[in-house]
Amino acid sequence: MMNIPLSITSTIHDWLFSIMPEGAATFTEWILIATAYLALFAVAGLYLVLLERKVAAWFQFRLGPNRVGPWGIFQTIADALKLVSKEIYSNERVDKFLFNLAPYFVIVASLMAMAVFPFSKQFQGFDINIGVFFLFAISSIGVIGLLVGGWASNNKYSLIGAMRSGLQTISYELSVGLSILTMVLLTGTLQLSEIIEVQRTGGWLIFQGHIPAVIAFMIFMIAGTAETNRAPFDLVEAESELGAGFHTEYSGMQFAYFFLAEFINMFIIASIAVVLFFGGWLSPFGITEGITWFPEVLWFVIKVFMIILLMMWFRWTFPRLRVDQLLTLEWKYLLPINMVNLVFMAIVIWLNFTL
């Protein structure tokens, strides 16, 4: 099994260890990997922004960005350059320390989550045995950034947005957690690579777990969309109510961090969905099973983009919920359904009804 990423990384690995002492080589490797992930993060974020704008345009009889480069592919790079070169400006009487700290919470949380992404068998930064738990734990740190940013901005709209984000993320984490738990019950492991390996023989988990798995997937998609603060759950930055919500007062790169983090979070939610329900890097029906040169990462990316397109479809179709309806949906519907579903899944596994 010679995979392309593996062949490159092992070459670099051997070369580094041949020219340096062991400690220095390991350290250099860490830095190289971190840089590679940062670059990946930036590119993924930028191009998700472009995809979102294009998808929005297709939904709305528009062309979308099409001036900078062919089909506007350099548009987001131009936007990023603009944001980098802008002044970082803050309001009067803000809490300077917290104000400047908030974007880093958000961005670091998203970045750390990327470390465990199983892009393919050989392309995974950090394959720990509590992978799912780690992803889930890290991705909920981000909300601290939103709360702190909204509080420190000295702006009432930001404060309302921050409070909304707090209650929304805390509530919907329960549903995300429980629907993940339902699937973990089926796999019997928290390690991402093993969850995928389970699906190599038994088929994708959404088919293995059939009815409870489908319910879990639907709840996961609803709660996941809410976790990323996207429409129809974008109360945090409901522009017709709060201007721009918690990031109203941010400018330049600080704003860009919030903005990119939202897209990376979407990527994270889509990745969890792909790993837990759609077989991660595995090909559908094993069509590329025997082809050794085929980059498995391609399947992972394709599936993730399908889920992301679904989330964008939600965003450009649905109106926004009201804050009390948001909480009613979670505490009165999703959470009870989820708990019953968990028991249902346990019964299905106990009676060996899995496909």
Binding site: K156, Y157, I160, L235, S240, G243, F318, P319, R320
Partner: protein, 372 residues
């Protein structure tokens, strides 16, 4: 113990300025909100940010010039506003315009109402977070603007009606393009329903929100779709027909629930009524003159004259007090938005911030109309 916690942890009401620059206000309306957490305790509208003293300007202008100023009131129903002043002047002069003018004015008024309601629909969806509606609505509104542009050369401030008739004759393409538009809009309106009206989130956001009872609707002097959503019969086109409304067959749309969804349904249904009115008249535009000659300087007889019309947002009244000179002594405009705004605090109290935005969207405020 409970007493102690209650003393320590207390909540406070706070003030938020919604506007004058706020995405939901559609203009420079400043709402001073008193909020307890998310719950609205009081809404205090503060006007004057776009006051241009139009009524005062009317006092020094001739009657032909006044028509132009009315475009700037409710800029989304400028034909109807022009019509109100023209009708008032014609009433004072006891001038009978030709049938052709009456029919053309009716068609233009209804197309204006359609364009205005289309824009409202797009913006209502946008206020509730469904951004796509905006582009759907603007796509179709653009066709109406193109039709207007061909005939009168303008897309927003029309200045097409003059006292005694119309400024120009119809463009030769007018009938053909209007028919094309009718085909398109009849195909697209059901699509609007599929996109927004049937959406469960949309219905949850609007049903039972901002209920305006029939008694309140009458006592606050609301008019137009807002009053008709509460079951008040107030369509000026039916009660005091003007233009050619007495010879077309249409229904006054009434819903009795009085909530945001009822106001939404009134406007959606009114679009169908407008389409039907235009359809009835488009093949029957009589031949004739497009204007009755008036003197170059119109002098109204001494006295008071009042004319009301049904604008897209409700009743628009023009009161002229003339002393027999070429300018009015006093011209008062009764705009629907101002009266409708007065009921906002009454029905938005106790709701959430999101409810206020939904109610504002269903009222369809145009701020230059409120703040003349």
């Amino acid at each position: 113990m409970e007493q102690l916690t209650n003393n320590k942890i207390k909540t406070e009401e706070y003030f938020v300025n919604m506007g004058p620059q706020h995405p939901a206000a559609h203009g420079v309306l400043r709402l001073l909100l008193t909020i307890d957490g998310e719950i609205i305790k009081n809404v205090d509208p503060d006007l004057g940010y776009i006051h241009r003293s139009i009524e005062k300007m009317c006092e020094r202008n001739s009657y032909q010039q006044i028509v132009h100023l009315t475009d700037r009131l409710d800029y989304l129903s400028s034909h109807i506003n022009n019509g109100a002043v023209c009708l008032a002047v014609e009433k004072a002069l006891e001038l009978e315009v030709t049938d052709r003018v009456k029919v053309i004015r009716t068609i233009f008024d209804e197309l204006t109402r359609l364009a205005s309601h289309l824009l409202w629909w797009g913006v209502m969806g946008m206020d509730l977070g469904a951004l796509t509606t905006y582009f759907y609505a603007f796509r179709d509104r653009e066709m109406i603007n193109d039709i207007f542009e061909e005939t009168c050369g303008a897309r927003l401030t029309m200045n097409y009606y003059i006292p005694g008739g119309l400024m120009f004759d119809l463009h030769p393409n007018f009938v053909k393009r209007t028919k094309e538009f009718l085909v398109t809009i009849k195909k697209n309106l059901p699509e609007y329903d599929r996109l927004l009206t049937g959406n469960v989130i949309f219905q949850k956001r609007t049903k039972g929100v901002g209920i305006l009872t029939k008694e309140d609707a009458i006592s606050f002097g609301t008019s137009g779709p807002v009053a008709r959503g509460s079951g008040v019969t107030c369509d000026v086109r039916k009660i005091h027909p003007y233009h050619a409304y007495d010879r077309v067959d249409f229904n006054e749309v009434l819903f009795t629930e009085g909530d945001t969804f009822a106001r939404y349904k009134v406007r959606m249904q009114e679009m169908w009524e407008s389409i039907s009115i235009v359809e009835q008249l488009i093949d029957k535009i009589p031949e004739g003159d497009i204007k009755v000659p008036t003197k170059a300087v119109i002098k109204l007889p001494k006295g008071e004259f009042y004319q009301k019309v049904e604008a897209a947002r409700g009743e628009l009244g023009v009161y002229i007090n003339s002393t027999g000179t070429k300018n009015p002594y006093r011209l008062k405009l009764r705009s629907s938005g101002f009266s409708n705004l007065s009921v906002l605090n009454h029905i938005a109290k106790g709701g959430k911030i999101g409810d206020l935005v939904a109610i504002m969207a269903s009222f369809d405020f145009v701020i230059p109309d409120i703040d003349r």
